[in-house]
Symmetry: C2
Subunit: 595 residues, 2 copies
């Protein structure tokens, strides 16, 4: 039951049992994407507990003043209402004789195969195929096949664009133009309510029976926030009815939208769908698979050989590579990687320290141009980091724990769960106190350059990032009565401990940051005097240098105990009694983690 | 299948077959309410195609600049996730051996009784009871009973407040305070995004097994826009597990909220739920039923006697009386009756000519204090009517075809369906052209006073309404080359004909309106000189009087043909060829009618 690893040799992750109570897992794990857009793998037919989601990188919007900016859930283009002789195709009723859902990570294709007996006893062979193109980032292609095995049937289809979807109830879009072109293409323009980004979504269908294309004017249905095409086709027993759906997404925030009007994007959307129809599903998939080969598998053929476990390990690494590609906005340095990628609304599309600490090394080694863009994003978001430092009474660049728009600064939500004892909402402290993010960013910039040798990056962005963050740390240190500098009242990487003093990771990294700044101060002064002069004027490096020396000399660094344990903060080895229980931790995690 | 009239003698409308593809019908037809709030009868357990809805009269909000103001769909308090030994209670799976859903219109109670065999074979007797109190307008009471017939079971319940609901995707609420009191009561404050009305929604539960109350701290779940209590109870075979849920709704727009802060309403909400628990479901229902008897059935015992059909006719009249009571905001003259009552989001809660032409006579004859408030609403909304007249270049009061807030003026949406041929949205002309609403309002005021003899109403509001609307008509007339006045380019009561000239209903009613003004001009001058003086100064009646005389004398009135047919407009008997086909009409209706 559940995940099946029998086909990992073929790069395929399989689900062998459909569970309508746990739809979120495969929607996320098998999600499709290309770094520009991400698509949860919700099924064509709708279910009560589904979470449909499509997200376009960097299109942040804020629902109201009480909420933080987040990636909006774009209008759905994948759902189809499929009715066979009046019976809706619905796997929660009737009988399933065969069922598999497979994600092919090599080609980026999602395939479902079902043999279903309807409640009225109709035997139906069903298959669906879907891909998000890595070749043309705006395109989604679907194919659905229905073969009646126990008699002739009439298949009805209702498929289009559904903008009633929300981010768990928060609606980020205003309805714009709804159009129906040539009794075929459907187009919906929607604008984000606060950030004013136009989404142009277009879709059209092709119907065939046993390969014979069925030319048929669509019946159009338009309702509030919805526009659909309806088709009805008679299919004889053992014939295969195939519906292909070609969809495109363009936004005025796109990497390639500069200077293009919404009307031009509408034209581009229509053209894309027409061209997709000309090419057909198989052609679109082949092109995208070739792009996967060129861009990822051929370029980064990580191989694991060895024991019986090797095949699974090999797949696990490739699965990570797959998700590392679909989540990264490789095309655009104005955005970064969300903590949940583009696979759902969890973490609101915000980027965290995960980028530098967990993800960046892979890109630095395998796709340095992508790694560079991720760090350019940090440089471009310095205005937000300066604002956050100033707001908190510090100097330099204090990076936001959660980051969205370049100039947003901190976007961590203020409250999360409710406290069981008091009944009041629990404050989220990481936005204010999880300050190690600032040295993590500096570390990422340094590490990228160390791996790639990209001296141009350091000259343009890296040195400045490291100086500016070190300036923050010098201003952040608190002089203690013991003659040392302390960093009090923080959250370290262990987020279950709030308001701790002298967190080991935080203090060591702060010192590293200032040391690195000192090192580069000397280096630039002697070897790159022009850059030095420019940054010295911008950041007053000479004055900062003294503060760094002082800070590095006197910062308190927790030392290992006699048992060689480095306490993570000043309370760590004294307070086991008040540690959260495992259950409490799970509960806490439950509130912030999402399928 | 479907509706069953076998119990109409007991005032009961019954559904005898559950159809998950057509949930909207019973949700609407069997909806509950009290004029302050309306609750669609969506089931406790959720289904894919359900439309959950709860609306509080007069709490209009506007989602964005492109949308018109509408009644927002308030957070749901009726849904419950019921799980029996891990199996969700879900009537789309397993087997149903018995099923009825009944609305008792005498008591305002909704009851479902089901004998269900779960997919794993558990026999479960299920019943649910629900009422919206007519005694205390803020209260909703529910009771659910689960009796396992084939062995002991563990029942899990997850029930609370769900603010992820929308108006077909448009979200009208910002999240406010979410609280959990005494491990029992749940409270959610939500504010409408544009009109700034606070909704305070509170709920709490009581559990019992075979009458033995189960004291149990709730497990609380809080998620985005949701707050739930969780319970788990072991129930032996043939024991009856009963869950009662007591919910209250208060808003800062309430008829009785003047001067009360949101914090005070929060306290009121908690108190109401505590008192409901003390009283219990049966007591709340009994009090509400007594109110129905006192306010409606005892006061207006419309009786139909006679042939075999009489019983059904009797029920039909009472069914109308039931809905006439649950849809009317009897408590508040700042609001009116929505075209779909409070039973759904169709027509956006706006009031139309339906109030005066179809509904008012019933209230005037049976509950004149309610009728008077409905017409006071029109008087209070004169500022909007003046603004509409001025905007269109006319004088006096030009009432909005669709009306919401008192000062909104016209709130008819500008576009509805898409034109199949051009692919472009179709403009809704009734807001601009369906001008007969203005004389309909005058007619309603006159008719109310004629039925009730309420001279105080006429003195305070009625005469002014009739004068002000007559002033509009005089300014609206267009002098033709034939020496007559015409009213061109309108929509009459037949909305399938747009841009017609000299619509019979419009022209005759305009003349009636001016004649009535002339009559009252003379009357007041002689019999109520003080009121005359006041209105003459306010409205320049002397000048208006001349225009009315001129208008009445020369307005074009379509005359019956030789066959004694009164053509509804100047194209009516000339243009059958371009009439819409029946199918086109159906299609048109499909776009605006809702379950």
């Amino acid at each position: 039951m559940g995940m099946d690893y029998s086909r990992v040799r073929d790069w395929i992750l399989r689900e062998d049992c459909f569970d309508p109570l746990r739809l979120g897992k495969c929607e996320s794990v098998m999600s499709l994407g290309n770094g520009y857009l991400g698509l949860r793998s919700a099924t064509e037919e709708r279910y009560l507990r589904e979470t449909r989601g499509m997200f376009v990188a960097g299109t942040f919007n804020k629902f109201d003043e009480n909420e933080v900016t987040e990636l909006p859930n774009a209008a759905d283009m994948t759902a189809m209402e499929l009715t066979i002789d009046g019976e809706p195709f619905d796997l929660t009723v009737g009988t399933m004789e065969e069922y598999t859902r497979e994600l092919n990570i090599r080609t980026g294709e999602l395939v479902r195969r079902v043999l279903w007996i309807s409640p009225a006893g109709r035997r139906i062979r069903f298959a669906s195929y879907r891909t998000v193109s890595l070749k043309n980032l705006h395109e989604i292609a679907q194919r659905v096949e229905i073969t009646p095995l126990s008699g002739d049937v009439t298949v009805s289809v209702r498929s289009g664009i559904d903008a009633t979807v929300t981010n768990t109830g928060s609606q980020h879009f205003s309805e714009g133009d709804k159009r129906f072109y040539d009794k075929k293409a459907i187009q919906f323009v929607l604008r984000t309510t606060q950030s004013g980004i136009d989404f142009v979504q277009t879709t059209q269908h092709r119907l065939a029976v046993d390969g014979r294309v069925q030319e048929q004017d669509a019946q159009v249905y338009i309702e509030r926030r919805e526009i659909f095409a309806g088709y009805e086709v008679k299919v004889r027993q053992d014939e295969c009815f195939a519906l292909e759906k070609y969809s495109s997404v363009y936004t005025t925030r796109d990497f390639d939208a500069a200077g293009r009007t919404t009307a031009e994007l509408q034209e581009a959307g229509l053209t894309a769908c027409r061209e997709m129809e000309t090419q057909g599903y198989a052609g679109i998939l082949a092109d995208s698979a070739a792009q996967w080969e060129a861009e990822v598998w051929g370029r980064t053929p990580i191989c694991i050989e060895g024991n019986a476990q090797a095949e699974l390990n090999q797949f696990a690494v490739r699965f990570a590579q797959y998700h590392m590609r679909i989540m990264v906005p490789a095309q655009d340095n104005r955005m970064n990687i969300g903590a949940k990628g583009l696979s759902g609304e969890g973490y609101k599309g915000h980027c965290f320290w995960d980028t530098e600490i967990f993800l960046l090394p892979y890109y630095s080694f395998t796709a340095p141009e992508i790694a560079r863009r991720l760090e350019e994003y940090r440089y471009l978001s310095l205005p937000g980091a300066h604002a956050k430092a100033a707001h908190n009474g510090y100097r330099g660049a204090m990076f936001p724990w959660e980051s969205a728009w370049l100039d947003d600064g901190e976007v961590t939500p203020e409250y999360c769960d409710v406290d069981i004892l008091t009944g009041k909402p629990v404050k989220v402290w990481s936005g204010i106190l999880e300050q190690h993010i600032t040295s993590d960013v500096a570390f990422g910039a340094w590490q990228y350059a160390a791996i790639t040798g990209d001296e141009d990056f350091m000259d343009q962005y890296g040195y400045e990032l490291i100086f500016d963050t070190a300036i923050f740390w010098a201003s952040r240190l608190e002089a203690g009565e013991d003659g040392c500098y302390h960093i009090n009242d923080v959250v370290g990487p262990d987020e279950f401990r709030e308001h701790v003093n002298d967190n080991a990771f935080t203090n060591y990294m702060a010192k590293w940051n200032m040391e690195k700044a000192l090192e580069y101060y000397e280096l630039l002064k002697t070897e790159k005097p022009e850059i030095f002069a420019e940054l010295n004027e911008k950041l007053q490096l000479d004055a900062a240098c003294e503060a760094w020396q002082d800070g590095c000399a006197h910062i308190f660094l927790p030392q290992p105990t006699a048992e060689n344990v480095l306490p993570q903060d000043d309370r760590c080895l004294r307070c086991r009694a008040i540690d959260l229980t495992k259950d409490q931790q799970q509960e806490h995690l439950g509130g912030i983690q999402r399928d």
